[in-house]
Amino acid sequence: MMLRYGDAEIVKRLVPPAIRGEDIWCQLFSEPSAGSDLAAVRTRAVRDGDGWRIDGQKLWTSWAHIADYAIALVRTDPTMPKHAGLSFFWLDMKSPGITVKRIRKLAGESEINEVFFDSVYVPDNQRMGEVGAGFRIAIETLMIERYAVADDALGGPSLAEFASQAAHHRINGKPAIDDGQVRRVLADAIVERQGLRSIHRRALAAIAEGREPGPEGSIRKLRLARRRQIMGELAMDLMGAQGVILAPGASKAVDHAWSWIDLPGARIAGGTDEILRNTIAEKLLSLPQDYRPDKKVPFNQID
């Protein structure tokens, strides 16, 4: 996004250290009252000389506690309808007035935070895009995220891992992998994975030929998150009573219990299952939008 909207000087200064892993960036989008309905953000930016003063609160911000910089979506004009009054900035997380508070997730340790803004000054040259164009830029950012979230198992155990465990676990003395229901679930997962791989392969081929990839790539995160949860549940079932064990220090990439307990966030972050279905229906199938009573109302007049 910096390459698209940042000026050349800033790109040269900030992008290389980010790529080398020296600087970490976070994304200040969601708020207590703006999650799926991202355009409802309330964090205010008010003009102050050559810059802006930001007040408000962000929520669910991954890695904010270690981040050096951030991109942020804030409201610059509350008299406009909600989508139109937003702008997009980058900012230094060490700016005076920023407080970061860790949030403990259900799985224990966590990377997500609350971020509080108390009269934080941001110069106007850190604005990305026009005043009022913030929502569109935020959506562009999210589209990159939805596409990039990407290994076959979404960070959980692979199907090979599942199959090898199912070969060891037993159902009344017989290998679980020989059970018809276990095989059926595994077969469904393999079919889904193959379909997604095909979509991915064709998208890469399209890009390599200079064509736009098809929109079907957008189903990937939606399918893989739910799949990881299903496979986790089944793998735990196969362990029987032993399945309750949450071994300290085990990795969600190989341990099904950790994968399962860590999963729910994946069905919410970067677009909930429900929002993604809406997007498929409205953007790809051109079905009518949901009923949105607040759509054309100035933001400060919405109940």
């Binding site: 790529i19 892993g21 990407a150 290994d151 960070g155 155990p157 220090g249 190989v254 949901d290």
Partner: protein
């Protein structure tokens, strides 16, 4: 060239089918058991369709299954039944000879008789004795009108495929009322009927069934796609409670699910077809995914197409009934889903038989040198940064390791490969920015932990 031929054929098919195939004509076919649209078959013969995917050596046009597939998709979308798949599979099993060239010319019609009553699998009990078959096969599509049957049977313990001339001795066909009378289906009974062996062994039987399944998957994808199209159109037009029903999430989410199932099925079918065209070892496993994916997608789409239409959907006059029938018929004809889900025994990790999906392998793509190089690099980094190295680390220590991995990637040219090199990416000049985008996504490193990381960092 290849794409041009495909486009010409689809265009030709669209014009013929638009002109000839009406809803009324399709409904007439549903009225009586074993119905066949002989007039349309004559049109298809004039256009050379039966020979498209039959080898030149066997008297066909030798254009390949890749050319036939889009045509089948077009036919499937309209629930038009022509015995093209059975012809291709039978001629393929025969390899050549008079019957194959007659099939290619359309003057012979084939049926695939693989199923038997009482068993949903693909292991025949029909037995050969003295070169003759006696017994019955379950309803097979086009058996009511076929001149030849490719029959699965066993000779002693060994299953195989046999060619039967249906004009020969002891053959009785019985077209019975069925869920889809438009498939020209019939039960075949043999009484000391002469049969010629054309393929021997279980793997051969499964291979030819897999070819049929792969081609049929395109008919199923076409059908599922049509269900989605008509459902979406109806959901936009039909109003309830003051708005189009497509604005309600109960409907739009259902249709979004239909879209996902369709695209997954299409992906599996395309990959299986490619493996078939290239004669790859993983063809059978991919055909299983094509079969399961396409049957699931079409069943789901057909069922929910009716549901989306409400009362109109259950009428004789409306279109959804055709798909509801056809989806099930196609799912049953070449062996039910249960069979191929069972075949996932061939998918067990490390079982080592040919034709299996190796569960530990990455995407089935022709890997460019770049990707294999990137894989090698990831493999080499695995001990330092992979799952084992991260095991038990605190978040702080893990972060240190993560930064080090990102630095290593950057130094090796694998960090943000879509960005220009002067910024630390991998694109030598900014013009290639677009074409190089996302290429790393195809890298499937040996451990998921590492790949998850790679994706997080890229």
């Amino acid at each position: 060239m290849y794409n041009e031929i495909r486009a010409i054929l689809v265009d030709q098919a669209t014009r013929l089918l638009d002109a000839e195939v009406s809803q009324a004509r399709l409904k007439d076919l549903l009225e009586n058991p074993g119905s066949f649209d002989a007039a349309l078959w004559s049109n298809a013969i004039e256009l050379g369709w039966p020979g498209i995917a039959i080898a030149e050596a066997a008297g066909g046009l030798g254009l390949g299954v890749g050319v036939l597939a889009p045509l089948l998709q077009e036919l499937g979308g309209r629930t038009v039944s022509l015995p093209l798949v059975a012809g291709v599979v039978t001629a393929g099993a025969l390899g050549g000879g008079e019957v194959a060239s007659r099939l290619a010319a359309g003057c012979a019609i084939a049926t695939l008789a693989l199923g038997e009553a009482g068993d949903c699998g693909l292991s025949p009990t029909l037995a050969l004795a003295n070169g003759q078959l006696t017994g019955e096969k379950a309803p097979a599509a086009f058996a009511a009108v076929a001149t030849h049957a490719l029959v699965s049977a066993r000779d002693g313990p060994e299953p195989g495929l046999y060619l039967v001339d249906l004009g020969g001795q002891g053959v009785t066909r019985r077209a019975e009322p069925a869920i889809d009378n438009g498939r020209a289906a019939a039960t075949l009974r043999f009484d000391r009927t002469p049969a010629i062996r054309v393929a021997a062994g279980r793997d051969a039987v499964l291979h030819h069934a897999a070819v049929a399944a792969t081609l049929t998957a395109f008919e199923q994808v076409g059908g599922a796609e049509r269900c989605l199209t008509v459902s979406v159109a109806y959901a936009k037009e039909r109003k309830a409670f003051g708005q189009p029903i497509g604005a309600f999430q109960a409907i739009k989410h259902k249709l979004a699910d239909m879209y996902q199932e369709l695209e997954i099925a299409r992906g599996c079918a395309i990959d299986a077809l490619e493996a078939l065209e290239q004669g790859r070892k993983d063809f059978f496993a991919l055909a299983c995914t094509a079969r399961l994916g396409a049957s699931a997608a079409y069943d789901f789409a057909a069922r929910e197409c009716i549901q989306t239409h409400g009362g109109v959907g259950v009428t004789w006059e409306a279109e959804p009934q055709h798909h509801y029938r056809r989806a099930r018929a196609l799912a049953l004809e070449t062996g039910g889903g249960a069979v191929l889900a069972r075949s996932s025994d061939r998918w067990s990790a490390g079982s080592g038989r040919s034709g299996m999906i190796d569960l530990s392998s990455g995407p089935r793509v022709a890997l460019g040198a770049y990707v294999s190089q990137a894989r090698q690099w990831l493999e080499a980094m695995n001990p330092r940064f992979g799952g084992a190295a991260r095991h038990g680390l605190s978040q702080e220590d893990d972060l240190v390791l993560g930064r080090a991995f990102q630095k290593a990637k950057s130094e090796a040219g694998y960090a943000c490969i879509t960005l220009p090199r002067e910024l630390g990416g991998a694109v030598p000049n900014s013009k290639r920015f677009c074409s190089a985008r996302r290429k790393t996504d195809s890298i499937s490193p040996p451990t998921t932990s590492l790949s998850a990381w790679a994706c997080l960092c890229l």
